[in-house]
């Protein structure tokens, strides 16, 4: 196998594993940005992740129902654009605390100077 092909395949496999579970972070970030309805969350996730993350509306609804059930997300009904009323989702206090703790423990590591330097270091 050519090196470039191998690189592409390895990258795709790593990314597939890496992205599992990331949707939660992107959903939380989109709601930290402000209350949104499902299509807006979908657009936020796709645009802000530069289309490395994609999600189906149905899968988002299912995920949001689970988050609502455990109390990290809630919704309020707002008027839609000509159509029926929409559910505008937002993070609850528990949701905000959860995101803050998750970021502190798992994301802020990447802002550590040594790690940042390593990421930017050229071979």
């Amino acid at each position: 196998m050519k090196n470039s092909n191998l690189l592409t395949e390895l990258l795709a496999t790593w990314e597939e594993t890496y992205k599992k579970g990331q949707l939660t972070l992107w959903i939380f970030l989109s709601l930290k940005d402000g209350r949104k309805y499902v299509d807006e969350i979908k657009s936020f996730v796709e645009e802000q992740s530069e289309y490395t993350m994609t999600c189906e509306s149905q899968s988002l609804y299912r995920t949001l129902r689970k988050f609502k059930h455990v109390g990290v997300v809630d919704f309020e009904t707002g008027t839609g654009n000509k159509g029926p009323d929409r559910k505008y989702y937002f993070l609850t206090e528990l949701g905000h605390d959860l995101l803050e703790n998750f970021i502190q423990r798992n994301i802020n590591l990447f802002f550590n100077k040594r790690i940042k330097d390593l990421i930017n270091k050229e071979e």
């Binding site: 599992k20 579970g21 299912r62 129902r65 689970k66 059930h69 455990v70």
Partner: protein
Amino acid sequence: MKAFTTNLMYFAISFFLGAVAFRYGLSYSLECKYFDFVWILAIIYFFFNFLIGWHFGKKDYESIPLNDVGFRFHFVTYFLFNSIGILWFLLDLNSYYESLRLVYLIAIFWGIGLIIHFIFYLLERKKSINGLSKEDLFE
């Protein structure tokens, strides 16, 4: 955790109506000595319950995947079936050929099965948060 979901409620209503219809058909058939019809009735009743359990159970899981190993649906089925069975006798709607002792025996032996199911449910709850599997919550 909201255990009594909308789909469970629809299941309970359907099951209740089915159980009352079955009880009525059973007592009527026995009273009129249509013994062959009892078999047909029992088979229809079995498939009816299977279908409503399948339909509402699937819809319930799709709506919110509660990790309860089917215990909520089992409990509702047990409660309604046996309550209707006992009430049928208390209201004197039973036929001559039915026995209250048999109804109690069913409730007792089925109850033992329900308790075992409850133990499995409690074990499964340890792997859940508000009834949702920890493994699937942030997938």
